[in-house]
Structure formats: structure tokens, C-alpha cells
Amino acid sequence: MNEDPYDVLGVKRDASQEDIRKAYRKLARKLHPDLNPGDKAAEEKFKAVSAANDILGDADKRARFDKGEIDASGNERPPQPPPGWYRDHAGGGGGGPYTSDAGYADMMDEDDLLGALFGRGARRGGGAQFRMQGGDIHARLAIDFLDAVNGGTKRVTLPDGSTVDVTIPPGTREGQVLRLRGKGSPGMGGGPAGDLMVEVSVGEHRHYTRRDDDILLDLPVSLPEAVLGGKIEVPTPAGAVMVTIPKGSNTGTVLRLKGRGVKKRDGSRGDAFVTLRLVLPDKPDAELEAFAERWAAGKAQNPRAGMES
């Protein structure tokens, strides 16, 4: 601490004793280690300010310092004598008799998690009370493909025979776990009940398959529909929709139906992708056979060109 005490306190050399006292008080209020419990550096600064005040706050010592009879380093402050700063006692594990929970008392009953973390539950009722959250119950639930896509509700029967209606959010995925707060085992000693954790398995659909938020669908079309094009009705999870088949469509042609897929959280939907599949008549048709017989261009086409043997 060889710094000039006048600089440390931020006062002029001709400052009055009253000015010095004010400057010191202002700095002490700001830097006192017990008012800065988390700031290790505050202690060093406070020591420097106190040492400066020990010289300048005393008119006699100040006069001797000004005359050069003593210097700033000679008045270095020893470390805080035992028991040290109050902050080092108040911060301890036990908390002592002084530590107050009034600073977070309003944050408690909302969620017992906070109570457990802030160590309050044990202190209530004399500290001997045992308070514990109930356990979670795990259950599995098979749901329909369309309920997973569009959302719905499903009744679950628990091991104890009671039933719970589970809300299935739209867009639920295979293996997703739905948490029903407070539907698990009851708590002990006034603790809250645990949660019911429902793992979902999604069933298959006869026509639809799912790829994230999109729906894939094979759609059979007749020969005339494929060749000539036309409007046909297509079922989707979002309801049937009229779709125009372009002229000259083929097996494997994919049509994208925007917003006809899986419902998302924000209310919008993924897309449906319709793959056309050309289907010939069930029974042999004489007219079609006759046409194919005389259809030179058709016969000349080799759809397997480019296939390796």
C-alpha cells in the first residue's frame, strides 16, 4: 500500500478534516466487505481506504505524513483480526441464527422443487417433519395413428384401477413421453404428488405413413386418369381434398399437397406427398387388348432400357 493516501481517498491535499471524513465514509459504504459478500476484491480496496483514513483521518498523523515524518506504507493495515468478516460466518452451511429466508419466501409454494432446493421444507414445523414428493408413475399408451397426427384424448387405466384422460397433443411422435403433473403417487407429509409419465406408441395406418411432419400416401389411379389427367378426391389426415392429376402422369409421380400433413404445435401442418400408382382394370378388357395389339409406339417403348442385367 504505497499509494498516496490522498489519491486513495480521492481528496485534495488541502481538504478539510470534514471533507476527508465524508470521502472515507462514502468509500467505506461502497467497499465494506460485509456489504459486498460475493466480491473478494472489495476487501483489498477497503483495506487500502481504511489505511489511508488511519493517516488522514487523524489530524496529527496527517500533519506528520505531510511533513514526511511517516509514509503510507508504515501504516499498512493488518488483515481483519479473528473472527474475520461477518460475511464469512453468515455464508456458512448452517446459516447461523441470522440468515433469513424472507428474501425468497414468496417463491416457495408455487412449485415444491424450489422449496426442496432452497432448503425450506425441512425448517418448517421445527425441522423434524418429513416431507417428500410422491413418486412418478410410468405407463404405456397405444394410440391411433390419426390421434397422434391430429391430437385427441385417450383414457388410461392406472395400476390402482383409477382412470385418467390423457390429452394427446397434435403431432405426437412414437416413443414420446407425456407428463401429467400431479397424477403420480401421492406425496408424504404434505408433499406434492408425483407425475404420471405416459410413453406413447403410435399405431400404423392402412394408407398413410409418416415422415416427421409430412404424410406419405400411395394413391391408385386408373389408366384413363393417368393418361388424360383429371380431378380426383384424395383422402388426407386433414380431410379429403380435390386434386388435379396432370395429363400424362405415371406410377411414381409425386404430388405435394401443402398443409395437409401432420398438425404442428403452432397450428400449421406439414405436407402430404401423394405417390401415384397406375392400376390396370381388374378384369382383362378386350378393347384395351385390341388397342395394345395395334399400338406400334407402345410396343416400340422399352421401359427397361438402361437397366443392367
Binding site: 461477518y86 440468515t99 428474501g103
Partner: protein, 103 residues
């Protein structure tokens, strides 16, 4: 008794002052003054002398400090719990905190 006075003298404390602070409810000793009691007394002395806080102000400052230490202890507990969590759960909490910050 002489022992206690010795101890107080080294800390620049006077028995009569501490007794009046006990009467104010600022210090709550058990049988003897504990280290925490004496450190608290030094703080009260600093508040009154070095910082020029009056008696009403000392009560307010102590009350707020007691709350601050309660909060610090609670926060440290939360931190300890966080520290002891398995890594995936820790990451999950960090992600939630980050999302809260961004919101």
C-alpha cells in the same frame, strides 16, 4: 469475564455497546458470544462509525444483509444441486436457462 473483555478489546468493541445491540435485537447470542456474533458486532461498529449509518439505518442494513445471505445460501444450494446432476440433465437445464434468457 476478563477473557471476554480481552477479546472485545482486541476487536475495538465495548461490552456495554454490544449489550445495547443485543437489546436492539441486532445480535442474538446464545450463552457466549460466538465468532459470528462478534463478527456481526464488528460490522455494526463499522456501519455506525466508519460509514456514519444511524441506528435506524443499521436495523435496515442488517435486515437486508440477513436476507441477502439467505438468498446466497439458497442460490449456492441450487448451484450444488446443478453441479451434482448427471451431464444430460445439466445440459437440459442449461438449454432451458438459455431459452429463458433469449425470451
Amino acid at each position: 469475564m476478563a477473557d471476554t473483555n480481552d477479546r472485545l478489546g482486541r476487536l475495538r468493541l465495548q461490552a456495554t455497546m454490544i449489550e445495547s445491540w443485543v437489546a436492539q435485537g441486532w445480535i442474538a447470542p446464545a450463552q457466549e458470544y460466538s465468532d459470528a456474533d462478534l463478527a456481526r458486532a464488528c460490522l455494526i461498529r463499522d456501519l455506525r462509525e466508519a460509514m456514519g449509518v444511524n441506528d435506524e439505518g443499521v436495523g435496515v442494513a442488517l435486515d437486508l444483509l440477513d436476507q441477502l445471505h439467505g438468498l446466497r445460501r439458497a442460490l449456492r444450494r441450487v448451484g450444488d444441486v446443478m453441479h451434482g446432476l448427471p451431464e444430460p440433465a445439466r445440459q437440459e437445464v442449461l438449454v432451458i436457462l438459455r431459452e429463458l434468457d433469449e425470451a
